[in-house]
């Protein structure tokens, strides 16, 4: 038996979470250090995984042990390039979230243990290849996020926390029905076996796809199931927002790619037009709402709805370019939106306001923060040469060359223009101009804060300039998915 690297990556943070909780609030510095060490070691393990990863092979590092043999549940972890990119993002953002929230004073032990527990769920979702195991990790994410929002959030935190919880739970229980139906039909809980076997009746596929659609679309979120997102983001503390936007949303689109497409190919084709329509609406609607926001964090939150629309558009295209684009947007959005949420949080800590009209002239007072905010905004609006462009371009390209109605693609492309408009307008109002009253007394980013942002800046540039750095990992799985779908 080989070294169980994936198990270690998934469950090391659990050990960390328990250790941190046992240390308690009184030993705050030990708590921080433990959390930090655990998260960094986990990231190092993921780096090891990346180093040992063979991009020409499919699923790797598999671990498969029977769990509940009576019912055919297995403990099956495995990783391919798509999972790997998400796993890397999850481990990296967790480290950055821990560093960025280093000075949390309210219940530090609970805070760091919840962050680590969240990492268990996030890592697990992307490597679990058994439906029950997948569902365990999927739901595991809810609990720490509920506490992160509910304990450290803004004034309406309890409402936002329970809304997030119930909304996602509603989606995921429908997913559970889908899982049960698939199990009864195929006699296995193993996703890969199911995808390989194929041959499910079309009518059955349609209904199961609908069940999974509800589960995944709430998480993505796709219009009109997105209403939990702004509440959760506005109330969540910065680090939780980063992980929510950076990883949790990706769980939904990952589900489409890992489960809905390969296992339910006929239904995916049938549904693709509808999904493209919802994607186009999400893109334009999210962008339009982002325009109207007066709160910086809400603006970023609605921009997420818009960006995730590109992911869904790419998925709906069912073409290699579109699917690669979808994964690229997922990765890039995690990096760039993470950066934006960190920056908004850092500005908020200094000015104590997120209202756009009260913050202006950052560039003359805090040039580093202003420069990074402008950089992140450019990346977010999809400036060529930065990571945001790669995925959106490929998604649109894939969708244009696909069977989808070109109208949806044109509408979506208009979303790119809108994104440019609202992001540039944000930069104009916040970064440029004369310092407002709230901005006048503040100081620039500390070295730690810059250190938090630098890895994200680097990834934005690397992926933006050298597309292959990301696409070499995603192309293999994408081709596999399309091959399993019977090729289009």
């Amino acid at each position: 038996m080989q070294f169980p690297l994936l198990t270690l990556i998934v469950f090391l943070p659990l050990l960390g979470a328990v250790a941190v909780a046992l240390l308690g609030d009184k030993r705050a510095s030990a708590v921080r250090m433990t959390a930090m060490v655990v998260a960094v070691v986990d990231l190092a393990l993921v780096a090891l995984l990346v180093a040992g990863f063979d991009t020409s092979a499919g699923m790797q590092f598999a671990e498969k042990v029977p769990w509940v043999p009576q019912v055919g549940i297995t403990y099956h972890l495995s990783v391919d390039g798509m999972s790997l990119s998400m796993l890397l993002l999850s481990a990296l953002l967790t480290v950055l979230a821990i560093v960025a929230s280093w000075r949390t004073e309210k219940k530090p032990a609970l805070w760091f243990s919840m962050l680590l527990l969240l990492e268990v769920g996030m890592n697990g979702v992307f490597v679990a290849m058994d439906f029950v195991l997948f569902y365990v990790f999927w739901e595991l994410v809810l609990v720490p996020m509920y506490f992160l929002i509910g304990t450290w959030g803004g004034p309406r935190r309890e409402y936002a926390a329970i809304k997030f919880f119930l909304y996602t739970l509603l989606g995921s229980v429908f997913m559970l029905v889908g899982i049960i139906a698939l199990y009864l039909q195929t006699g296995t809980f193993d996703m890969l076996v199911m995808a390989e076997a194929g041959g499910l009746p079309a009518n059955f596929q349609w209904w199961v796809f609908a069940a999974f659609f509800l589960g995944f679309a709430v998480k993505v979120p796709v219009f009109p199931l997105h209403t939990w997102l702004p509440d959760a983001h506005v109330e969540a503390p910065t680090a939780a927002s980063v992980l929510l936007a950076g990883i949790l949303l990706k769980m939904g689109s990952y589900g489409f790619l890992r489960i809905s497409l390969p296992i339910l190919p006929d239904a995916a084709r049938e549904w693709s037009g509808f999904i493209a329509a919802l994607a186009a609406v999400s893109i334009v609607y999210g962008a339009a709402l982002a325009f109207a926001q007066t709160d910086m964090k809400k603006l970023v939150a609605y921009s997420s709805v818009s960006h995730m629309g590109f992911v869904m558009l790419g998925i709906a295209s069912l073409t290699p370019a579109g699917l690669n684009g979808a994964v690229a947007v997922m990765f890039s959005h995690g990096v760039v939106t993470g950066m934006l949420f960190f920056l908004v949080g850092m500005v908020y800590e200094r000015t104590h306001t997120r209202t756009i009209s009260e913050v202006s002239g950052l560039s003359s007072k805090v040039p580093v923060a202003a420069g990074l905010l402008a950089f992140a905004s450019f990346a977010s609006l999809g400036l060529p040469g930065l990571s945001g462009f790669v995925g959106e371009f490929l998604s649109l390209l894939g969708a244009w060359s696909s069977h989808l109605w070109p109208g949806w693609v044109i509408i979506s492309a208009a979303g790119v223009l809108l994104a440019a408009a609202y992001m540039l307008w944000l930069v104009q109002r916040v970064v440029l101009g004369t310092p407002s009253e709230a901005v006048a007394p503040i100081g620039d980013l500390t070295r730690t804060e810059v250190a938090v942002l630098m890895p994200l800046v680097a990834l934005t540039l690397i992926v933006g300039v050298y597309w292959d750095s990301l696409l070499r990992f995603t192309d293999g799985p994408v081709q596999t998915i399309l091959a399993l779908m019977g090729g289009i």
């Binding site: 365990v136 609990v143 329970i162 919880f165 119930l166 509603l170 559970l176 049960i180 009864l184 006699g187």
Partner: protein, 464 residues
């Protein structure tokens, strides 16, 4: 003599009840301690003796489900008595309560192994009679007596309805044994009498529309009594009903009646639990809702029966623990405010119990629901399962009202009860069971001889 040896666990429980009753002074809580020891010994004895065939000319049979049921009833009783041994029952004496609980458990243990309608009825009464007393344990408390009286009258009435039905069942089948039931000639009379019998069982399990006694009775009773009465008799009743339904000739009408009660219970229980501000009422309605899930599984044949048995245990352990928590901290939801600050370990344990009741993995409740929904869907009950699933989201709403108070609420005047090792051990054991039933369900399901796959594959064409 050898046949009697198979009932050693039952004799141990009876001996425990008698010993507890005459255990002398109450200060050291010798009664509950003795009772807990006997109940635990009984559970171990059940496991050691294992399944054996028919007993006493076929009036009882110790099959795998019966063994599982007797072991879990005895263990849960031991767990409850451990808490009582630690904390006592306030101003009231604990030794009679221990004796009553053990007698009720004795009834439950006999009920799950019954293969004869007379044994079923007598053991059902033995299991409920002591429960009336436990519910009205404080004889000076008017509200408690009112609740207990309601419970008593409704329960008596439905018992009589059940007995009336059983008399017809005997008339149709020509025998009192379960074995004769399966070959009874089907017809309207059998159908009607089965429904009458089900009324009795539904009332004992507090299924809608026979649940009205539950919230009032629970609200009037002491929290520790509720912890027992809402869990162990329900576990026993579920298993007994599974055995009974397994013996009846398969009939779509019976299934319809059970499904109807299941759907109603899920709807009424979950929706009515929402506005409650008293933990006992909340758990009463939550119990009604969980009965709905159990009945849903029971409506779908043999694999449903084992799924229901598993789920009954997954329901009983956290529910008992939560009511015992209410017994320590106060029964108004607001009493639990700020528990996380006062007693963090207990607060986190309560989160595990509540998440298990919602059905969040990896707790026992999730796997219970997974097995339960799987067998119900494979039994063709797709729409009721969708209701059940939607209702579990609703249930998250009210369970999280408790979570919210425990973790985000504030209360400054709360007394912190002195440390108590047996009580703490009770909570720790309950938490471990809830986690272990989820994570290491495999041996247990093996014990229950649960084989969904066979059923699933056989029924797969349904979904073509």
């Amino acid at each position: 003599m050898t046949e009697l040896a198979a009932l050693i666990p039952e004799f141990l429980v009876l001996a425990g009840a008698l010993a507890a009753l005459f255990a002398g002074a109450d200060e050291r809580r010798l009664g509950p301690w003795l009772g807990a020891g006997c109940a635990l010994a009984a559970a171990v004895a059940v496991a050691l003796i294992g399944p054996s065939g028919e007993l006493f000319g076929g009036v009882m049979e110790l099959d795998a489900v019966a063994v599982f049921g007797r072991a879990s009833i005895a263990s849960l009783t031991a767990l409850w008595l451990l808490w009582v041994a630690g904390r006592g029952l306030g101003a009231d004496r604990s030794r009679e309560a221990a004796a009553f609980a053990l007698l009720s458990s004795l009834g439950g243990m006999l009920m799950v192994s019954a293969q004869d309608i007379i044994v079923l009825f007598i053991s059902l009464e033995l299991s409920t009679m002591p429960a009336y007393v436990l519910m009205g344990y404080r004889r000076t408390d008017a509200r408690g007596l009112e609740g207990a009286l309601k419970y008593f009258l409704l329960s008596m009435l439905t018992s009589l309805v059940m007995l009336y039905g059983l008399s017809f069942v005997y008339g149709v089948a020509g025998s009192t044994s379960y074995a004769a039931l399966s070959s009874a000639p089907p017809g309207a009379l059998l159908q009607v009498s089965v429904v009458l019998v089900l009324v009795g069982m539904f009332a004992k399990l507090s299924a809608t529309p026979f649940h009205y006694w539950t919230p009032d009775a629970y609200e009037g009773a002491q929290a520790p009594s509720v912890a027992y009465v809402s869990t162990v008799p329900k576990l026993a009743g579920t298993i007994a009903l599974a055995q009974l339904l397994g013996a009846l000739p398969a009939s779509p009408d019976t299934a319809t009646v059970v499904v109807a009660a299941a759907v109603l219970s899920m709807l009424v229980g979950n929706l009515a639990a929402f506005p409650q501000s008293d933990l006992r009422r909340l758990m009463a309605y939550s119990g009604v809702a969980h009965t709905g899930y159990l009945l849903l599984a029971l409506s779908s044949g043999a694999s449903g029966g084992t799924a229901a048995v598993f789920y009954a245990l997954a329901y009983a352990v956290p529910s008992m623990a939560i009511m015992l928590l209410g017994a320590e901290e106060g029964v108004a939801l607001d009493d639990l405010a700020g528990l996380a600050a006062r007693r963090p370990a207990l607060a986190w344990a309560s989160l595990v119990w509540l998440l298990s009741l919602v059905g969040i993995p990896p707790m026992a409740g999730f796997f219970g629901k997974l097995y339960l929904f799987t067998s119900a869907v494979s039994g063709g009950q797709l729409w009721p399962v969708l209701v059940a699933i939607a209702m579990s989201v609703v249930s998250a709403g009210y369970y999280f009202r408790v979570v919210r108070r425990v973790f985000f609420g504030e209360r400054s005047d709360a007394p912190v009860p002195p440390r108590n090792v047996p009580a703490a051990a009770t909570f720790a054991i309950a938490t471990l069971i809830v986690l272990a039933l989820g994570l290491f369900a495999s041996p247990l399901l093996g014990l229950l001889e649960l084989r969904f796959r066979d059923v699933a594959v056989a029924l797969a064409p349904l979904f073509g």
